[in-house]
């Protein structure tokens, strides 16, 4: 077994964190430190209650100054949490410029040791010692590295034209950074445009949205493309190439005969704006006042019959000519939003009984209903409305039937409780004689001003019934002779678990929030989704709007259920992160890229053959001491540091900086070595 060799000038400081008990309750941190102290090059080995605290960091700084430490190894929580913290610590320590931040190695002793070996403190301690020994072995071989500094394109691409995308675009532009916003559909506004009023204040939704759209499109630094999608991405933070594919609108400026064209258009399709409760033509606008102020042709349904041209063809072109163009952008904001949950056929009678509709449909129904004294549905006067909460939310694995894709929506959709009670209040105001039943598991009116909506609904004679999550209500046809066509059977725990039958002329399902299907964007941007299928942030508290891909941030409901206020806040926070990245015109990249030892390179080109990244590694004619030869040369900005070239090189001439094969070999030696023998305590 090879003994770890001492590397002359290397002076290593080793620190084992208690993590406030998270580690030290299982791992004997003092024993770990004592064992490591015996290793070559280890000058100090200390423990601390919380290494990441100011005091803990000061410990390292002092050792660098007083003991000439020039490599640091910390064993603490996961490196994803604090590796950067300690790199910064050593970078600011020392008399002049501090240590090079890459002379640091982080070992995870919490997530991968103490939290998973609670039942075996002794083995956990031994494992911690071995992992730290491996870390120290790597640290002996660390070299100073310099980040690559690149010019950052001060231009962001926002994907999605709903309230979050608009809000992010506006903030980025106001900060002085150019923005291009792309929206897949022909119109801006997203789901907010389908609301009439917003909670908590009853504000006019489309008016507030319209004001925001006006601000965004009027801003000189904003460019908006509707019907545009991201279809290609290359490059890296600060300097991405985005390929955008845009479908034709079919209608251009100067077209003035929308009403007549729509009149003669023979194609009638369900109108998605009203969730299929009305129809529209193949030439359409989402809603009056939609931006842009031009209709669009629905290419999926237009059969180019030309009837619209016969009215007045000016500005019409019935051929879709998709165009692609490239943009050079520094960052992406993913604001791709949500889709409402669509119940399965038969779920609470949906799609079986026409009297069962969803909450988004109900909101549109009320918008379309007019001012009459009665609410009508299918030609009948509605007397009893049942509102059922948590449809497609808070499902319990093993109890509720999974979605067709195998998913069980076990999360709370956050907005439906308040939205449902906001609706109940509107129903009560407009139809004083209606019987309203609210059937829920819990009422979650958590937001500022939301509890007032609940109180108001309760004061307004809304009848509340409460079910248990594993005993959800049933929607059944009413027996012949009942005045309402349906009944909702609820085991109601507000009347001590009695089974009640609630008559219903209309059943409204408070459907939850699902992320928009964005598999294409996930794979283009190399970001990931969580088990709930929403896009995943790095850490909910440390980096709540950032993804693991530098330069890609999240805004709004693509990340999880949010109401408008929360989506706006998240979008602005995303804009702040974009401003941090691009505001100063340059981006620093980690130095973990391939490096070629030209003394060993024989220009075989094996590395170039295996590398999948354009211009990351190329053969170039290099002159050395008057001799010219073909050698592999790395372009750091294009290299992702995957190391495919390392294993391909027949001469072991390539390494990834910071992750060299020699470092791994040293770590293997350390893992294989016997544990250091501690001097007897006596």
């Amino acid at each position: 077994m090879p003994e770890p060799r001492s590397n002359g000038d290397v002076r290593i400081g080793v620190y084992v964190c208690y993590c406030g008990g998270n580690i030290s309750d299982v791992v004997d941190c003092e024993q770990v430190a004592a064992a490591l102290r015996t290793l070559p090059n280890v000058v100090v080995a200390r423990t601390d209650m919380s290494m990441c605290s100011d005091a803990g960091q000061a410990l390292i700084e002092t050792d660098i100054l007083e003991h000439g430490i020039n490599r640091v190894v910390v064993g603490a929580c996961a490196p994803s949490l604090h590796e950067r913290t300690f790199r910064n610590t050593i970078a600011r320590a020392g008399l002049d410029a501090g240590l090079n931040p890459y002379l640091y190695h982080h070992v995870g002793l919490r997530e991968q040791v103490s939290w998973v070996h609670q039942g075996n403190p002794q083995k956990a301690t031994e494992k911690a010692i071995r992992l730290m020994m491996a870390g120290i072995a790597k640290a002996r071989m660390l070299e100073p590295l310099e980040p690559t500094v690149l010019d950052a394109e001060q231009h962001a691409l926002v994907i999605g034209g709903g309230v979050a995308g608009l809000r992010a675009a506006w903030d980025i532009a106001r900060r002085g950074i150019r923005v291009t916003l792309i929206e897949k559909s022909p119109f801006l506004g997203g789901h907010m445009a389908q609301l009439e009023t917003t909670f908590p204040a009853g504000e006019d939704a489309r008016a507030a949205l319209g004001d925001l759209i006006d601000q965004v499109v009027a801003h000189p630094l904003v460019t908006v493309h509707t019907r545009a999608e991201l279809t290609g991405v290359s490059g890296y933070v600060g300097n991405f190439q985005a390929q955008i594919t845009q479908q034709s609108r079919g209608v251009s400026q100067g077209f003035t005969h929308f009403a007549e064209a729509a009149e003669v258009c023979p194609v009638e399709v369900p109108d998605e704006f009203d969730y299929g409760m009305t129809t529209r033509k193949a030439i359409y606008r989402a809603y009056p006042g939609a931006y842009p102020d031009l209709p669009a042709i629905d290419w999926a349904h237009c059969d180019a019959c030309g009837k619209c041209l016969s009215v007045n063809g000016t500005g019409l072109d019935l051929e879709n000519k998709p165009a692609t163009f490239d943009l050079n952008v520094g960052a992406f904001v993913v604001a791709t939003g949500f889709r409402p949950y669509e119940p399965r056929r038969g779920e609470y009678g949906y799609d079986e009984h026409p009297e069962v509709i969803t909450l988004p449909q109900m909101i549109r129904l009320l918008a379309l209903a007019g001012d009459g004294p009665d609410l009508l549905w299918n030609g009948r006067t509605v007397k009893n409305v049942a509102l059922i909460h948590c449809v497609g939310s808070r499902e319990i694995p093993g109890v509720h039937e999974p979605q067709p894709d195998g998913q069980v929506n076990d999360y709370c959709s956050r907005v439906c409780c308040t939205a449902t009670l906001h609706l109940a209040t509107e129903l009560r105001e407009r139809y004083p004689h209606l019987n309203i039943f609210d059937i829920h598991e819990d009422i979650r009116t958590y937001g500022r001003g939301h509890e007032d909506i609940y109180t108001e609904a309760a004061a307004n004679r809304v009848g509340f019934l409460r079910f248990h999550g594993d005993e959800r209500p049933d929607v059944l046809p009413a027996p012949d002779g009942d005045s309402s066509p349906l009944l909702v059977r609820v085991k109601d725990y507000l009347t001590w678990g009695e089974e009640l039958d609630v008559p219903a002329d209309l059943v409204v399902l408070a459907t939850g929030i699902l992320p928009s299907p964005v598999d294409d964007i996930i794979s283009l941007l190399k970001i990931s989704a969580g088990t709930d299928r929403f896009l995943l942030e790095v850490h909910p508290k440390l980096q709540p709007v950032e993804t693991a891909v530098p330069g890609v941030v999240l805004a709004g409901t693509a990340q999880g259920p949010m109401n408008i206020q929360e989506a706006s806040a998240a979008a602005s926070a995303a804009a702040a992160k974009v401003a941090v990245l691009l505001g100063q015109g340059s981006v620093k990249l980690e130095p973990f890229v391939a490096r070629v030892n030209h003394a060993l390179c024989d220009g075989s080109g094996e590395c170039v053959a295996v590398c999948a990244y354009e211009d990351a590694i190329t053969l170039q004619t290099v002159s050395d001491n008057g001799q010219t030869a073909q050698k592999a040369v790395v372009t750091p900005a294009n290299c992702v540091g995957c190391g495919v070239c390392v294993s391909a090189c027949p001469n072991h001439a390539i390494d990834v900086q910071g992750w060299t094969l020699a470092q791994y070999d040293a770590m293997l030696d350390a893992l294989a070595a016997p544990l250091p023998v501690l001097e007897s305590a006596t």
Partner: protein, 155 residues
């Protein structure tokens, strides 16, 4: 007769974007698995040449789980290249008398906590059956020695 696997060592090469984050997720759950597991972070295992794995076994490490990111690999071609390389290691192991079950390539995502636990448990079960790698290395050395002495014995 099965041997207890707890004194044998499993090296886990785990990608930062997959297995390593998955292992951290297991920790977040406070789930429990065998402590004979040594996780080293890697950017992408496509960097390791075939002989690297042989060196692992020669050092007496009994098993290697390569937890890569599979189809979620953030590097173009990284997953395919990793699979190719591992496939080339198996015959080299056989040549040296090392049981190929000691090396496994598995895709582990950032939230694949149960897959992580299952792989660790299965590898320990395998080790309990096949015993430590040093037995195989010693047998190979012995075979090599007897082969050479045979050669010597044939004038």
């Amino acid at each position: 007769m099965a041997t207890a696997s707890e004194d044998m060592k499993i090296l886990i090469l785990a990608t930062l974007s997959g297995g390593y984050a998955g292992a951290d997720a297991v920790g977040q759950l406070h789930a429990s698995y065998a402590p004979n597991t040594y996780i080293l972070p890697v950017v992408c295992p496509a960097m390791f040449p075939e002989d690297f794995y042989l060196r692992v076994f020669e050092r007496g490490i009994d098993a290697v789980l390569v937890m890569y990111s599979g189809t979620d690999c953030p590097y173009k071609g990284g997953a395919e290249r990793t699979a190719q390389l591992i496939n080339k290691v198996y015959p080299l192991m056989t040549e040296r008398g090392i049981d190929t079950r000691r090396l496994r390539l598995v895709a582990i995502c950032t939230v694949c906590t149960s897959a992580f636990m299952r792989e660790v448990a299965q590898m320990n079960q395998t080790l309990a059956e096949i015993g430590p790698v040093r037995n195989e290395l010693a047998a190979a050395v012995a075979a090599q020695a007897s082969l050479s002495s045979d050669e010597v014995g044939q004038p």
